[in-house]
């Protein structure tokens, strides 16, 4: 066998493994972080689009439910909206994203005015009873199953103990709902909410009602709940920036790891490069050999990254409330990131060594 590449990889297994792990790190970061952000958003989008109300009224800088932990909208908008032509019912909602109590991850809590909420949505209590006091919380069946919480159990939210009064159906909005007034008190946001759900009267088109609302209350924003899932699937601007940042960080990690690995190994092999030159190897030949080595390490790192990411996803989903989407498109992009970063990282050391003086290289000890 005359393959310098394979011989170098097998002769220096620790270096090969460390380099592959470096590439794998970038792959895992891309797959899990992008999968996590998309998974959570899509799940959130699905639950919010099932809500029953047709229109969501919010502030112009809010992209929809689940995107802000600040109760920024005055509740006073709700009675104003209810006066608008074509509006059947309205319900102000407070949403708050908090760290999970039982595991790594985030959890959404909703503050609702349960009477108006049930008028705009199709929520019903399947077990136990409805929200009546400030210390009560209702949960959905998935939360009950995953967290092993049943009616009568207590949940700690915002440093306050809440008792599970009932389990609701279907899965809409956040998995935990408390009274809006209690959420306002606990967050110090009196008379504020995150958005208002609007149910349209039959015979009125959603578009017409939305226009009527914006005419009555200009400088605000309305979203159709039927479009929420699509909005989430496309990604919110802030999430898209996050995804780009993750990809850039992954590329930087992979480039640096490969560059460092190839640079140190090439310094070690300076004399060998001199010998290659004495044999008549061209600069292109030397660059190509080094790039081939980097390519193999990158492929190895990509496969390792896939393995770790898939295992990690399974463990995370099993043990936390997080949802991670495994998207074929992003598996492909992650591989592209790993392989291109590897090739890019090896390029500088390869070019540097290919331009080295052969006599100096041969005298390197």
């Amino acid at each position: 066998m005359d393959s310098l590449v394979m011989a170098n990889l097998s002769q220096r297994p620790v270096r090969t493994i460390i380099s592959a792990v470096g590439v794998a790190l970038g792959i895992v970061l891309v797959i899990l972080m992008v999968g996590l952000s998309h998974g959570m958003l899509q799940e959130q989008g699905r639950r919010n689009s099932n809500v029953g109300a047709e229109i969501l009224f919010t502030r112009p800088n809010n992209y929809g439910p689940g995107t802000s932990s600040v109760l920024s909208l005055p509740v006073q908008y709700a009675p104003e909206i209810s006066k608008v032509s074509g509006v059947q019912a309205v319900s102000p909602i407070g949403q708050y994203l908090k760290p999970s109590n039982q595991s790594f991850g985030m959890e959404m809590v909703e503050g609702v005015d349960i009477e108006s909420y049930q008028k705009v949505t199709n929520l019903s209590i399947s077990e136990g009873k409805n929200l009546t006091t400030d210390d009560e919380v209702i949960i959905d069946p998935v939360y009950s199953r995953d967290k092993k919480v049943k009616v009568g159990d207590s949940i700690d939210l915002f440093g306050h103990k809440f008792y599970v009064s009932g389990i609701y159906q279907p899965e809409i909005g956040a998995r935990m709902k408390i009274k809006l007034s209690m959420m306002q008190n606990l967050l110090g946001s009196k008379d504020r909410c995150s958005f208002v759900f609007v149910k349209c009267k039959p015979k009125y088109s959603q578009e017409q009602v939305a226009e009527n609302i914006l005419t009555a209350l200009p400088d605000n924003k309305v979203l159709f709940t039927r479009e929420i899932q699509e909005l989430y699937e496309k990604g919110l601007p802030v999430v898209n920036v996050f995804v780009k940042a993750v990809v850039v960080v992954s590329i930087i990690i992979s480039v640096l790891v490969i560059m460092l690995a190839m640079y140190t190994t090439i310094i070690e092999r300076t004399r060998e490069i001199g010998v290659l030159k004495s044999l008549g190897a061209s600069k292109q030949f030397i660059v190509f050999e080094i790039e081939k080595e980097a390519l193999l390490i990158s492929v190895l790192g990509t496969l390792l990254g896939y393995l770790v990411a898939i295992t990690g996803r399974w463990l995370i989903i099993k043990n936390t409330s997080l949802i991670i989407e495994l998207e074929p498109k992003w598996l492909f992009y992650a591989a592209l990131v790993g392989i291109l970063s590897g090739l890019l990282g090896a390029l500088y050391p390869a070019l540097r060594v290919a331009n080295q003086d052969p006599v100096k290289a041969l005298s390197y000890e």
Binding site: D2, G280, A281, S282
Partner: protein
């Protein structure tokens, strides 16, 4: 009588190294002619410019002035990539420290050289390789890595590597410098046989009069010049 073809010629070859601000004259106008099929030894004290000259003859260094004609092509006027190309086609190097790739087997080292010399063109070197390996008595050692071979065996692998692709000239830089006398004898005998059997032109730098004694001509250098 056949007129011998000149395979290598240097004309007023000079090499000046700049060490800091001080110019050092490593070669001071070397004129040397080597005919095809000759086995020439270059002798001289350390620092007399032997290795510098060998590196220039092999196209690894560009001379400060003068000409180096290899098979009619002037190395001194060539770009770095053209000198690499000429080295690939016409020069084989043998080093004192063998310089084999430690991660490759003996056969791997030879095949790598074949791949470089072929430059992407598929050439069947099998017959010549077998003949060389038989001559160098390496047939049973091909699957061993350099560290599993004796110094003499490593140098024979290095010679085999230098010979793949039919180089016009083999440049050997003290090929017995790292060997004991017994292995030195074996290596020298093989170089001599290669010269006789294949008509291989060999230019060998050596400090050893014994090694120089097997060649057809001895060139003596001193202070960057040929003195005899």
């Amino acid at each position: 009588m056949n007129k011998m073809k000149t395979i290598l010629q240097t004309i007023d070859l000079k090499m000046i190294y700049q060490i800091g601000k001080i110019p050092v004259n490593a070669l001071r106008g070397v004129n040397l002619t080597v005919n095809e099929g000759e086995f020439v030894a270059i002798m001289g004290p350390s620092g007399c410019g032997k290795s510098t000259m060998l590196h220039i003859l092999g196209g690894m260094l560009k001379p400060s002035s003068g000409s180096v004609l290899i098979d009619g092509q002037d190395l001194s006027k060539m770009s770095d990539s053209s000198r690499t190309e000429l080295r690939r086609q016409k020069i084989g190097f043998v080093f004192q420290k063998f310089n084999l790739f430690p991660t490759l087997t003996a056969e791997g080292n030879i095949r790598l050289a074949e791949r470089i010399r072929a430059n992407g063109n598929h050439k069947n070197e099998g017959e010549r390789r077998t003949e060389i390996l038989r001559l160098l008595n390496l047939e049973g050692r091909l699957n061993h890595k350099p560290l599993e071979l004796s110094g003499g065996e490593q140098q024979r692998v290095a010679i085999a590597r230098a010979l793949v692709g039919h180089p016009a000239i083999v440049l050997a830089d003290e090929p017995t410098g790292n060997l004991d006398s017994e292995n030195s004898q074996v290596v020298l005998k093989m170089l001599q046989e290669l010269n006789k059997k294949f008509g291989q032109t060999i230019i060998m730098i050596t400090h050893s009069p014994e090694a120089a004694g097997i060649t057809q001509r001895i060139v003596q250098m001193r202070d960057g010049q040929i003195v005899k």
